[in-house]
């Protein structure tokens, strides 16, 4: 009876008696959810256009942020380092397309997945060799990111909002809106959607696959850079950030590999779900359940919708 009460009653009592804390928890979850969604967005972009399950997205986040911070440490002004990091992402996109993707066209999914894991190893080595392995501090000042703390009174208590979190949420939402418009309204966006639909048909109407792939990997690189800046500003820029790639995977399967809105909704659900779960139910199991709760949530959803919430219906023919 006690156990049942501690599962079904106590957490809700705690939520009801201290609503400010609940809002605080949900907000924290929301912000990390937004960042998960950004990483997942990078995955989705690449998966849609080239059918590659890009495991290297996490390391691209680290690599982009490291390039930015590393260049700034060498004495570049903030905006120049930012531009240089964008260029680095472009070069990376070109390199990946030329050296990895093109020779592996038409290989099965798992081979492409392995290639991106190989790419991860390569980028880890490269990043550590060029910029060193120590954690670095994100150059929030030079980029003009506010780092103050807002205190908002709510239900008679104070809610603590970090400005950096608000910025992250706003930037992420702006990014998503921009990408949505870009996909829907521009010529390149149409070409991207055509390639995502059917490679051969797209080729036959004169869309250059190579160009599209470079663009997509570049876009994913820019998304990675933004994610890296935001995440790096919240904690530090180090190779530990790579772990967020693994956190983005349940987001992906929850939302579906092919859906941009899915990535957003999935990210928010996972972000908020795991924070609330950890704070209110985690102590029953001894804490630390954040590491796998997201996967369990995703697994639960998958059992009912094997293609994710927004994924395209999987039709199998013999």
């Amino acid at each position: 009876m006690d156990l049942l009460a501690s599962i079904f009653l106590d957490p809700f009592v705690r939520m009801g008696t201290n609503p400010t804390f609940l809002v605080q928890v949900v907000w924290e979850g929301f912000v990390s959810g937004v960042l998960y969604a950004l990483v997942a967005l990078g995955f989705v972009l690449i998966y849609k256009a080239s059918g590659v399950f890009n495991f290297a997205q996490g390391i691209m986040v680290v690599f982009a942020a490291l390039t930015l911070v590393g260049l700034a440490e060498m004495g570049m002004p903030g905006w120049l380092a930012l531009a240089a990091a964008v260029v680095a992402m472009l070069i990376l996109a070109f390199g990946i397309e030329k050296l990895v993707l093109r020779p592996l066209v038409n290989q099965p999914d798992i081979i492409l997945l392995m290639a991106t894991i190989g790419l991860t190893r390569f980028l880890v080595g490269l990043g550590e060799m060029v910029f060193g392995g120590e954690p670095k501090v994100m150059i929030t000042g030079a980029l003009g990111i506010p780092t103050d703390v807002l205190r908002v009174p709510l239900f008679g208590k104070t809610l603590i909002l970090k400005e950096i979190d608000i910025t992250a949420a706003v930037v992420a939402l702006a990014m998503v809106a921009f990408l949505a418009v870009f996909f829907a309204r521009t010529k390149i966006g149409r070409a991207l959607r055509a390639v995502a639909d059917d490679h051969q048909a797209a080729l036959s109407v004169g869309i250059s696959l190579e160009k599209i792939w470079v663009i997509v990997w570049f876009a994913a690189g820019v998304v990675a850079l933004v994610t890296g800046i935001m995440w790096g500003a919240r904690s530090q820029v180090s190779f530990d950030l790579e772990i967020i790639a693994l956190k983005a995977l349940p987001v992906l399967i929850l939302g579906g590999f092919t859906s941009v809105p899915g990535a957003i909704v999935g990210g928010l659900m996972i972000g908020i779900g795991e924070k609330v779960g950890e704070i209110y139910w985690g102590r029953l199991l001894g804490g630390g359940i954040e590491s796998w709760l997201a996967y369990l949530i995703a697994l639960g959803f998958l059992l009912f919708r094997p293609q994710g919430l927004f994924g395209e219906k999987i039709i199998e023919r013999v």
């Binding site: 592996l104 290989q107 392995m114 190989g118 390569f122 001894g286 630390g288 998958l302």
Partner: protein
Amino acid sequence: MFYREVGQFKSTYAADMAVFPIRQDRIGILVLLAIAVVVLPLVSNDFVLTSILIPGLIFTLAAIGLNILTGYAGQISLGTGAFMGVGAYAAYKLANAFPEVNLLVWILCSGVFSAGIGVIFGLPSLRIKGLYLAVTTLAAQFFLEWCFVRMGWLTDYSSSGAIEAVRRTLFGLSISGPEADPLTRYFVVLGLVVFLTWITSNLVHGRIGRTWMMVRDMDIAAELMGVRLLPAKLLAFAVSSYLAGVAGAMMVFFWLGAAEPSAFGITLSFQVLFMVIIGGLGSLLGSWLGAAFIWALPVVIKFAPGLVGIDVPSARVEHVNSMIVGALIIFFLIVEPHGLARLWAVTKQKLRVWPFPW
């Protein structure tokens, strides 16, 4: 002697379907075994034994396990590391609870526990397929890792949270624990791995193996042909996890001597997956080649600069190592997506017609 099967007539169906139908192959495998049993122990020192041969063999077993699941049955799994961990913890608990029973019995039993866990996490495979399944196996990876850290019962509430190899003997020889001789451990590991490879080889060449391959090639078609998917897939998960579990138990008892939960992390899963892919999906030979390649390569890269007289700081070596391994993986995937096993098959074909290829 040329590599030819000319003149080797087969008069029975069994001879025709043998694993090694060509006499030269049969001789070759015996020669290899002889090298492994006689020559390698003679020429290797303790360093080679403990840091190349023993781990290489253990990883071979883990790779065979994953290959059953991914290569033969077509279910991608990223949870091998955790299943190895289950085997290791099970062996540790069993060996401590029943010290009078021979350690080898517990090593072989430990796999049963990881097989059980594997079946539980294999259940979603009936509904979830492909890369989606790969991600759900990550749930197993992270959940089990969390269990290793949080459940003190698993480590008998040891303060460090690590498990240690207990001292055990076999026929009076110390095989596990700090004072076990590397050579003895090598023979025990070699024996176990060869034995389990032999069992697995029989399994995949028989009805069960063919069922798995049907499921891999197209599960709906296999179902229509009368394969029951539930037992077939779960059996693949069970056998795969069993082998991984035994490999994990051997890893702690015969190689590392002690292990923390982090030893069974996602990195280990990926390492085994690399071995399977580089070696060749759906090939036991590939698992051997892949494990040897992936395990030996970093060691070689580490010591190669020293041999030719270049002095490189060790941190730099780590980074270059990571880059080279990553680049080589991509390179191999591009050159031969079917792995080292296919490379060997091609070589064999060339050998057959050599020296007159036309």
